[in-house]
Symmetry: C2
């Protein structure tokens, strides 16, 4: 039985707490947050503290805090013979205090308050400094997910940039499309089936095979027409740059 | 019973043919393609021709061809008292020959050979020049989809640009993320759960609520780190432009 404490009850902490609490062979022994919070129904029997000096014994302490807070906070976690890990894609393992055994437990997903996610399909990227610690994180990861991969800090940094492209930037393109439609009082819901199909399509097709549109087929008339339709200069610039990038990728020059 | 002929058996034609053939109160009377093709199993009992002079009587002729081919082709469709429509987001109704009654029947989706789509959730955007024709297209649309909307050519052009953002450009960001990962021999499959969740998230959240990441929270350290990690200048430029656009949108300047 792996004993786990979760330190930080924000978005990631909440989702992890629920997943770990209901997992087999793992016990969620404590939840810490710096201020009092209402625990979700699934975990409201788990001991809670906002006092770091009252941490209970555990095998793994999971720091689920903002990137900037992790380093300082890890110095204040004084535990014996336990592994202290963070959950961030963007923070190297070296930022954790050397006071404890260190590791990373990074679930590669976007978490939203109030929106359930299926942890079993979320890749858990783990890193640690000894084989035993890796084994422990592997076991913990497998208790909530079918996909646990060992990734070092450099690789994780690359993964994090790539995640910014497919999550942050993609969502921003959704937003800009919504703005374009709202100028003509068109309902954004019209695009939602297309958005879903675009994401699901690459389950079976490569991203190159899935690429379509005026940029890929070098349809200059349509590109010109689209640029004239776009009122916002930022959207014009985005349209131009991504069109150029698609054309360069598929070997056709403007 | 609405009699329909489909002219052009490419991607869109194939998908439309299957959907219309199995719909109620609609008869797919003929499929035309300029060269011989193998009809899919679902429609292999439908009469086929590659000779435009042997078109059978129908109420609606659906031209499912590339944008550039629609105008010329429509002049060659000589039918009596029937509605001739195209299926393109980017072509105005006025490009169709005035020889026949004209309309548009635009299914707002990306179609892939060999990949089934659920037509019932695909918005069908219709346009016509008389109330009767609109009624006919409304009925035809409703036979295969739960969502039929009347959209004029100007609105459809806006919709088409927006579709380029959420489909073509989004898929290109997926592709670039794949390239970034491949530089470190990381498996693109790691990102797929994130890609799906990003698309599904906006079913319930607005795109602004769903926006997260270093650009939105103005985390300059991470942005700097990411730019240093990106080897490809095109990706650097895309990262900078989209980061700036997110920051402008949410009121934080670099």
């Amino acid at each position: 039985m792996i004993r786990v404490a979760i330190l930080g009850y924000g978005n990631v902490g909440r989702h992890l707490a629920s997943a770990i609490h209901k997992a087999n062979d793992v016990a969620l022994v404590q939840i810490y947050n710096r201020s009092e919070v209402t625990l979700s129904e699934q975990v409201n029997t788990v001991p809670f503290t906002y006092n770091l000096s009252t941490l209970l014994p555990a095998d793994v302490y999971i720091i689920a805090l903002h990137d900037d807070a992790i380093s300082e906070f890890s110095k204040a976690v004084i535990v014996e013979n336990a592994l202290v890990v963070h959950t961030s894609g963007g923070v190297p393992i070296s930022k954790l205090s050397t006071r404890n055994k260190r590791g990373v437990f990074y679930p590669l997903q976007t978490f939203t308050k109030g929106r359930m996610v299926d942890f079993s399909v979320i890749p858990i990227c783990i890193e640690a400094e000894s084989k035993d610690d890796l084994k422990l994180l592997q076991k913990l990861g497998r208790s909530i997910s079918e996909k646990v991969v060992q990734i070092d800090s450099n690789e994780r940094a690359k993964l994090h940039v790539a995640a910014v492209f497919v999550n942050n930037f993609v969502n921003h393109l959704y937003h800009n499309a919504e703005v374009i439609l709202s100028e003509s009082k068109l309902d954004f819901d019209l695009l939602k089936p297309l958005i879903l199909e675009t994401a699901h399509k690459i389950e079976n097709l490569s991203t190159s095979e899935a690429q379509t549109g005026p940029a890929k087929r070098n349809d200059r008339k349509t590109i010109e027409k689209h640029l004239n339709l776009l009122k916002d200069n930022k959207n014009k610039a985005i349209y131009k740059l991504l069109t150029k990038s698609i054309q360069d990728t598929y070997g056709k020059e403007l």
